[in-house]
Symmetry: C2
Subunit: 154 residues, 2 copies
């Protein structure tokens, strides 16, 4: 059987870094606490100081899911309006989530995502770090790479 | 605690239908067969004759995951390049996947997604129906609805 995974090189690491630096949102996959089945939601995301952050409301099912089971995945690399979405580079990051203090990150977050000013301080909005263990990078057909956490460090 | 879910009405059902009709791809959330942790991938999707379809390669981890555990979720409603991605309507569909014969669907699929002509007939590409049990519609802040399968029928 064909192995579709290429050896990781610096071009792949640079593409991964570009996707992380430009991500402002993505899809998060979690396990539903009531059914133990997969669940996905769109959430704001930001790569800041080598950490993947998300600001999410405790009213949301995905936040309740993370509180019950911190294993999750993040899909970043949004195709926008141009070209074939399935040839647009994207990356799935395997993560473990934990809540962190959002107060120290306010300036960094609002610089990147100014519209969050409207709700950043709401008490139900919590900041989570998604600690990445590995990543699957898909740069388009025939351009798949499996990365480890060290490949994402600059 | 605030309940953020609104009663389902025809406006919500119409928005759900619009998202289904316009979806050409989305994020699929599955359970990784090796680690039993959440995984997400971007896949082509099409709402056809009241069924949610996806065309995926058996070389992909998400396809292997569905073969091992058909419970999945689909996130549709892509923001494109305009506006605030977190106020753009999207919907999470809770699904069970099963493989179906792709030969009868070729014309419908290629009419909607012409670029799939390049790989539709590849033997590793399989068509799955994602049978929807319920859906969480998020029309933007304060516009959340929980739908059942009947709400998606026209």
């Amino acid at each position: 059987m064909t192995n579709p995974i290429n050896p990781t090189d610096d071009t792949a690491r640079q593409l991964a870094q570009d996707l992380l630096q430009s991500a402002r949102y993505g899809a998060i996959a979690v396990t539903r606490p009531d059914t133990q089945t997969p669940y996905a939601a769109r959430v704001a995301m930001l790569w800041h100081d080598g950490a993947l952050l998300t600001l999410i409301s405790t009213l949301s099912l995905h936040t309740k899911a993370l509180a019950a089971n911190p294993a999750c995945a993040a899909l970043i690399g949004e195709p926008g309006d141009k070209g074939d979405p399935l040839t647009h580079p994207r990356m799935t990051l395997m993560c473990t989530a934990h809540e962190i203090d959002k107060s120290a990150l306010k300036s960094a977050w609002l610089t990147a995502i100014p519209k969050a000013q409207l709700y950043y301080d709401f008490s139900d909005f919590k900041m989570y770090e998604l600690v990445v263990s590995e990543a699957h990078l898909n740069g388009g057909f025939g351009k798949a790479f499996n990365l480890v956490a060290d490949d994402l460090a600059v």
